[in-house]
Amino acid sequence: MAAITDIPVAKSPEPPTAIELKHRRQALRSSILRYGLLTIVGLIMIYPLIWLIGASFKTNAEMFSSAGFWPKEPTLSGYIEGWQTSTPYTFGKFFVNTLWIIIPKTIGTAISCTLVAYGFARFEFPGKKFLFATVIATLLLPNVVTRIPQYLLFRDIGWLDSFLPLWVPSALAGDAFFVFMVIQFLRAIPRDMEEAARVDGATTLQTLIYIVVPMLMPALISVCLFQFMWTMNDFLGPLIYISSVEKYPVSLALKLSIDTTEAFAWNQILAMSVLALAPSLIVFFMAQKYFIEGISSGGVKG
């Protein structure tokens, strides 16, 4: 039988003394306690999610009759009917709509934030301090304050009921938080590599593309992930700007099922909620390694 490698095995032939045995028992007991507690707390935290997944396979009748997550009569009807929706469109249409917002928004954010952050972090220009202060100030501004002026602005441009108001501002580095995040990351990267590239004959743009962007990758992946998840979850933005059902993204479409006159089909709502969660979860787990690296940035070796 294989030995447990973590616990040091006495090499001496003598049997362990009573004190040694006592210490080992204590260590075992304390780790059982610790991990037991952690598991319980962890389960409490994640239980709503587990319940959500379980409940999406329940019938409407069973839903509120028990708190258990395991369906007694598992059924896919929630998924099938929920996907059909009560509108002329399937949920697939709403997913596609969401993608039409997310893709340009995420890519645009990554590109614009890199350009703006590179400018602020690496160049001296007149008014830099003032401009940077402005960027940070917008970070502190409550979103609510800008809603109405923004709405009026987009109305005058004629962008209402289109995806444009949802992604164009972000794609023009409108999210100060991301700009700030990339700037902080850039500041931690020594300039020598960029100077070496300049000596090697690279122009500013070449330096950015060949040297800075690869080094920024962890930060950019984090930016994209955040933007992806936040956009996926954004409810207020689409609610304000999108009025025709055929342009609804997933977040609004979920609400749609609640609005309809049918007595709330909770199993459909939950089933679609599970589907709506899926993309964020999948993307997060795929990029988890870089994401963590991005959050715990700063320690870039020279």
Partner: protein, 375 residues
């Protein structure tokens, strides 16, 4: 390859701080010029101005025939090796080497040939497919040198390239770089080098000529021997040489020879020093290297009597610290000639070798004992 000229180059920062005060420096074609000085003396700033990484606020920098003041670094015909290597972390060694050529739009096979040639010279063939993080310090530095070499620049710039290496590796790399410089010269493509360091051993062993800097001024430019034997001023005298030259206040009186008085004791420094002087009698700074101080029994004729303050046994020699009045002296004595019974607090005599002594002006620090000397 080309010569490099700095004419009245100045650097004033935005906050009004003047870092470089109109320096003039000519580096000959194929010459190995070392810029040396204490930290904050603007040697790195000067190098970065030559590279084009810092703008200059006055004067002119010429590489070959061209004034390069307003050229971007990539167009100046220079290559630079950085202190922390600055290899591109996401590129393999091969691509790190070829990146400069790639930017110039050189065809792939040409880059490959050049990469092979350079990696052979620097013995980094086996490292070509590694990432910089998989290299040791010495290997990374060789790649950094290779990245400079591959471009056949007019001027090589080195910014304290060895200071991140351990002592042993540093000595090896020192030899490697000087060998490379000689080899290029022998192959008929001499490399003009400007090498910044704060380490006087590097400066003395590597440089054809050395430029000693202090606070944005050039103190002296000379070959290592001249710098050591005929320092132009007290700063250079104190900076070059280990242990530091003894610089102590004394009073000069000239009779037949030259007498130096300190702490009420007078020694005769001899004709040789007297002939070299161009200064009136009066207070001066006496400069004498620890190696040129003799240790004799206290009270010996023509010696200064002092008290032993400390004794450092270095192996082959002994550093004897002694005080004459308030003036501290260090003398270096070969171990076998040193009286092992000497103790702290003992009285000893110190003899000054007049032919090796220097006399500096008290206020300007200028060496006033170079008359008749060459240059």
């Amino acid at each position: 390859m080309a010569e490099l000229q700095l004419k009245g180059v100045e650097k004033t920062y935005g906050n009004g701080f003047k870092a470089v005060h109109g320096i003039n420096l000519d580096v000959q074609e194929g010459e190995f010029m070392v810029l040396v000085g204490p930290s904050g003396c603007a040697k790195s700033t000067t190098l970065r101005m030559i590279a084009g990484l810092e703008t200059i606020t006055g004067g002119e920098i010429r590489i070959g025939e061209n004034v390069v003041n307003d050229l971007v670094p990539g167009k100046r015909g220079i290559a630079m090796v950085f202190q922390n290597y600055a290899l591109y972390p996401h590129m393999k060694v091969r691509r790190n080497l070829g990146f400069g050529l790639q930017l110039r739009g050189k065809p792939k096979d040409e880059i490959a040939t050049a990469t092979d040639e350079v990696s052979e010279i620097l013995e980094i063939e086996k490292l070509l497919d590694r990432l910089p993080k998989q290299l040791s310090g010495g290997q990374a530095q060789r790649v950094a040198v290779g990245r400079a070499l591959i471009k056949h620049p007019d001027v090589f710039l080195f910014d304290e390239p060895l200071s991140n290496l351990d002592a042993k590796l540093r000595a090896a790399m020192r030899v490697r770089i000087t060998d490379l410089h000689k080899r290029l010269k022998a192959e008929g493509r001499p490399a003009t080098v400007v090498y910044v360091t704060h380490d006087q051993v590097e400066a003395m062993t590597m440089g054809d000529r050395i430029c000693v800097m202090k606070d944005g001024h050039i103190m002296q430019v000379a070959d290592p021997v001249t710098l050591y034997e005929r320092p132009a001023n007290a700063f250079v005298a104190g900076f070059i040489g280990m242990p530091e030259m003894n610089l102590v206040p004394a009073v000069l009186t000239r009779g037949i020879g030259a007498q130096l008085t300190l702490d009420g004791q007078t020694v005769e420094a001899g004709d040789d020093l007297a002939r070299r002087l161009y200064i009136q009698d009066g207070p001066v700074t006496l400069g004498i290297r620890p190696q040129h101080l003799g240790v004799v029994p206290a009270g010996s004729p023509n010696s200064l009597t002092g008290t032993v303050a400390n004794i450092e046994f270095m192996g082959h020699e002994v550093n004897l610290h002694a005080k004459v009045g308030n003036a501290p002296f260090v003398a270096v004595v070969p171990s076998e000639q040193f009286d092992r019974n000497t103790q702290r607090g003992d009285r000893v005599g110190l003899t000054v070798s007049g032919s090796h002594a220097h006399v500096f002006d008290v206020s300007s620090g200028e060496n006033v004992s170079l008359k008749g000397a060459l240059n």
